[in-house]
Symmetry: C2
Subunit: 201 residues, 2 copies
DNA sequence: CAAAATTTTGTACGCTCATACAATTTTTTG
DNA sequence: CAAAAAATTGTATGAGCGTACAAAATTTTG
């Protein structure tokens, strides 16, 4: 019983923090705001968590899982390597999440993780997962030393597009972002490699 | 006389803020730190500036000018449109500035400008300048409706590479970043367009 | 139902920081 | 050189915040 209520409250606080994060980013996250968003009184946070940083840690994991679920969902439907690569890219730009405030929130996470070792570890983990996913799509169709370069290119295009969305120089839709990246990747790979990717399971 | 000393102090404070910015980003910038970095006592800031935001505003202009000078310098030496495009890209990655702390600092500027209209105006200005520079390189070799797409691609590659440098998933050098972007652009343009760009002044 | 345990509330403390400003020092002026 | 002006110092004030915790409310237990 004790476990249950504790887990529920912790989860509620994490989700409250997540909602506040999407709106205000890491900077706008005060303990008071988190608790209010979770529908509890201000002091409750230090009862269920060691401190605010711990909540933020779990909140970021939660936020990443939301995106990763989108990726995994799409990858399950993919039947060849090219479709898997597309799944990764499309999963990184869900319609409902590719929005200015949210892009800014993620950006603020990058900034915060520069001076917080815990968050930095998370960020590296997220990146390794992405890199490993991309690698698994192309490792059979290019030589080993070309792979990291390609992975970096895709990662830069994805992150760059989110940064671009945050700045909102022009209001880009999720579809446009995906399309731009897809086009770049097609150019980078060339027709031959794409055909091969569609062939291999 | 009065003008002179005032201008000097303001400039010293702006440069102090700039040095602190490179080290700590926008978040680490306290009035005390700015004044200390400029070698003055803490209260001086409110004598020469309305408030901290005003110093930050001028500091960001200063920081951008440092980069823009690199771009302009290289563009002067360029004799055709392709070299001009390269000058823009290379100018955005000076050896001495393409460093993790500095990349993080710029990232924190993006975040800060999300909620500060003044900084937002600056950011848009910087982007328009970049877009206009890139456009002037390619407007004669592609149809009008293709230009914005191309400009967006280059901008995303540049910003994405800085973001990548901030995260430091792998320690990328300025040369490697430039090379990656150059390769992507070559793919995107195709040989024919590149040849044409090298032809036109 | 009463006592004990758990959960929740509200607040007080201490910290960091931007800003204003009185007091002091330095420079200029006549 | 004295008086006035300008520049600089150091600090006080108040706001916003994270955290701890006593008090109150609620739930569980015997």
């Amino acid at each position: 019983m004790k476990r249950s209520i504790e887990d529920i409250r912790r989860q509620e606080l994490i989700e409250g923090a997540y909602r506040a994060f999407l709106q205000f980013g890491m900077d706008g996250l005060t303990t008071a705001r988190i608790c209010k968003e979770a529908g509890m009184s201000p002091g409750i946070l230090s009862y269920y968590f060691k401190n605010k940083d711990e909540v933020l840690f779990w909140m970021v994991r939660h936020a990443n899982r939301v995106i990763m679920d989108e990726v995994v969902e799409r990858m399950k439907r993919a039947s060849n390597r090219w479709d898997r690569l597309l799944a990764i890219i499309e999963g990184n730009f869900p319609e409902t999440l590719f929005e200015q405030n949210i892009a800014n929130a993620w950006l603020s996470f990058y900034v915060a993780s520069a001076r917080d070792p815990q968050l930095q570890r998370l960020q590296r983990l997220f990146h390794r997962r992405l890199a490993s996913n991309i690698t698994s799509c192309v490792d059979q169709i290019m030589d080993d030393e070309s792979v990291p370069r390609f992975v970096a290119t895709v990662a830069i295009l994805i992150d760059g597009s989110w940064l671009h969305r945050a700045a909102a120089h022009t209001k880009t839709s999720s579809v446009e972002a995906i399309d731009l990246i897809k086009t770049q990747i097609e150019h980078a790979l060339g027709t031959a490699k794409m055909v091969e990717m569609k062939r291999i399971k």
